[in-house]
């Protein structure tokens, strides 16, 4: 397992109006593991993702990808450096088929120019075929091979979440950010998700996961970072986090967490 740090966030801060959505958050993600970010609602998890993936520009702090400073770079330039992500609220191309959605994921590996595309030169046909094949295998990995020609808008919610993952995978990222992939999924789907995440990591891709489903998080994470109200609260292994009083307080409130601490012993 590689020891180098693939993602580093240092004292990152961003505020909207007067609200400090992310307040001096620092973390370091070693390559090849599943790193989860958890925290109660409003903790700033998705905002953090949005900053890391270039959608928002932070006011303070920096982001480093594989050692290189990438703070403030646009999402497409980050994508070209091997970053990919899914969205909490799904950002699918609903007018395209499932297959076409994933084919767009191959974009950074496609190299045809607009003139050759207008003329449909053989290089374009070849590229289309390669893209199609790669997209089909990405779909197969998440179990959606049979739905390839369905319009994305017609698929079930759980399938849509998997479709987004397939699309992100198709870009062959080094670092994959998953934003609440289990939200709205039933236990069977969540189990399937676990498998997919493990298979992704087995290929050497680092996964950073934002999740509310604690069972999934505890089962699959190598390391967990807790955010609350925009600040880092704790970081450690699943066992360490589960018995951390401050974390319990953040989620359950002070009184309930004391009860739980008593119950756990």
């Amino acid at each position: 397992m590689a020891n180098n740090v693939i993602l580093e966030v240092e004292r990152l801060s961003i505020a909207f109006g007067g609200v400090h959505a992310v307040n001096e958050v620092s973390l370091a993600v070693p390559a090849g593991m599943v790193f989860s970010i958890i925290g109660p609602n409003g903790a700033g998890k998705t905002t953090l993702f949005n900053v890391i993936s270039g959608i928002y520009v932070p006011q303070l702090g920096c982001v480093r990808l594989a050692g290189e400073e990438v703070t403030g770079l646009s999402p497409d330039r980050l994508a070209r450096r091997g970053l990919s992500r899914t969205f909490q609220n799904l950002q699918l191309f609903s007018r395209m088929t499932a297959l076409e959605n994933v084919m767009v994921g191959r974009h950074r590996h496609e190299s045809t120019g607009i003139l050759s595309e207008l003329l449909h030169l053989p290089s374009v046909s070849r590229q289309n075929r390669l893209t199609r094949d790669a997209a089909l295998s990405a779909l197969a990995r998440v179990g959606l091979a049979n739905d390839a020609e369905q319009p994305a808008g017609s698929l079930a919610y759980g399938a849509l979440k998997r479709l987004e993952i397939a699309r992100a995978l198709a870009s062959e990222p080094k670092l994959l950010l998953l934003d609440e992939p289990a939200a709205g999924c039933n236990p069977v789907e969540t189990r399937g998700l676990e498998e997919v995440i493990r298979s992704i990591v087995a290929e050497g891709v680092t996964v950073v996961l934002v999740e509310h489903d604690m069972r999934l998080v505890m089962n699959v994470s190598d390391r967990i970072h807790v955010l609350a109200s925009g600040r880092s609260l704790a970081e450690g292994t699943a066992a360490e986090i589960q018995s951390n009083l401050a974390v319990m307080e953040a989620y359950l409130g002070v009184d309930h967490s004391r009860e739980r601490a008593r119950a756990v012993g």
Binding site: S53, G54, I55, S74, P75, D76, A79, R80, S84, R85, F87, Q91, L92, F93, S94, R95, M96, E100, N101, M103, V104, G105, H107, R108, E110, T112, I114, E117, L118, L119, H120, V124, Q127, N128, T131, R167, A168, S171
Partner: protein
């Protein structure tokens, strides 16, 4: 809604239109019909280009007649003031359109929704105003005459000749459009239409792609404008006016945004209908306005997608 056919039959719609083009003249009682046909093909060419921008890439341009105007005046000004042969002027017009589109496209396409609509509208109107005012070059509000096109000594004039020339160009334009749709850039543009941010996150350089399609659609409009001027033998500034831009948008929308064949249908409807009601010429605006409103309210997706949906349910 984008009407898709299986990949193998990708160019089938072009074949259908080609067949139509060849068969129709059998039924033409007079040369007048060739004229109407030529006009439909020329305007359809501009509409197809605009459809790539609006229906596929999801942008909007209420000023596309500006590029039609550039192409039209290029073939007027080129021979008259610069001594260029008309065929070279067509190319010059297209090149000028590429430059103008490239220059204004970047800042304009950063905008979205009604901001983009109004920016393009302003741009189109500015071109019309310049064409009206620079009378030394353009002949002012009364316009200028355009010399006929000669290709390798062969004089391109008359409705029949233009019917075939315009049809051939439209068919080529349609093939190019279908090619582009079924390519990485085509998929990227359709992706941008549905989710700008997701496309970005997957590595699509959204600004560049939008600019590229804007430039491509400008070339379509420019060539159409050149043909229009050469065909009519005369050009006036309102070829670039707001009403013309609206008509182009109406053709795209009526035919179906995202349907290349739809743009041909839309052009046909908007050219043929006023011609059939020449007695009702005064009602032109009333009819156009009503048609636009009715279609946008009731047949929102356009004629071709509506027909497809009706046939498949």
């Amino acid at each position: 809604m984008i009407v898709r056919l299986p990949v193998r039959y990708r160019l089938a719609p072009v074949a259908v239109v080609a067949a139509l083009v060849v068969v129709l003249p059998q039924f033409f009682p007079s040369a007048y019909y060739y004229r109407v046909g030529a006009l439909v093909f020329i305007l359809a060419l501009a509409a197809v280009g605009l459809n790539l921008l609006m229906g596929f890439a999801g942008q909007v341009s209420l000023g596309h007649a500006g590029f039609v105007g550039i192409g039209a005046y290029a073939v007027a000004v080129g021979p008259t003031h610069l001594g260029l042969p008309p065929w070279l002027s067509i190319v010059a017009g297209a090149v000028l359109s590429v430059c103008v589109a490239g220059a204004v496209g970047r800042p304009i396409l950063r905008l979205k929704g009604h901001y983009l609509a109004v920016a393009t509208l302003g741009f189109g109107l500015l071109i019309a105003i310049v064409l009206t005012n620079e009378s030394a070059w353009t002949g002012g509000p009364d316009g200028m005459s355009v010399s006929r096109l000669t290709l390798f000594g062969w004089r391109v004039s008359g409705s029949v000749t233009w019917y075939w020339v315009a049809a051939a160009t439209l068919l080529i334009g349609m093939v190019l459009a279908f090619n582009l749709i079924d390519s990485p850039t085509g998929r990227a543009l359709r992706a941008i239409h549905d989710s700008d941010v997701a496309a970005r996150v997957l590595g699509v350089d959204v600004a560049y792609k939008k600019l590229a399609i804007f430039v491509v659609s400008a070339v379509y409009a420019s060539v159409a404008g050149s043909y229009l001027a050469l065909f009519n033998g005369h050009v006036t500034p309102d070829i670039a006016g707001f009403l013309r831009s609206v008509e182009l948008v109406a053709m795209v929308v009526l035919g179906g945004m995202g349907s290349i064949v739809g743009s041909f249908v839309g052009a046909a409807v908007l050219v043929v209908l006023p011609q059939t009601f020449t007695a009702l010429h005064d009602y032109e605006h009333v009819a156009l306005g009503l048609a636009i409103m009715a279609f946008m309210i009731f047949v929102r997706q356009g004629i071709v997608p509506a027909v497809v949906r009706w046939r498949t349910t």
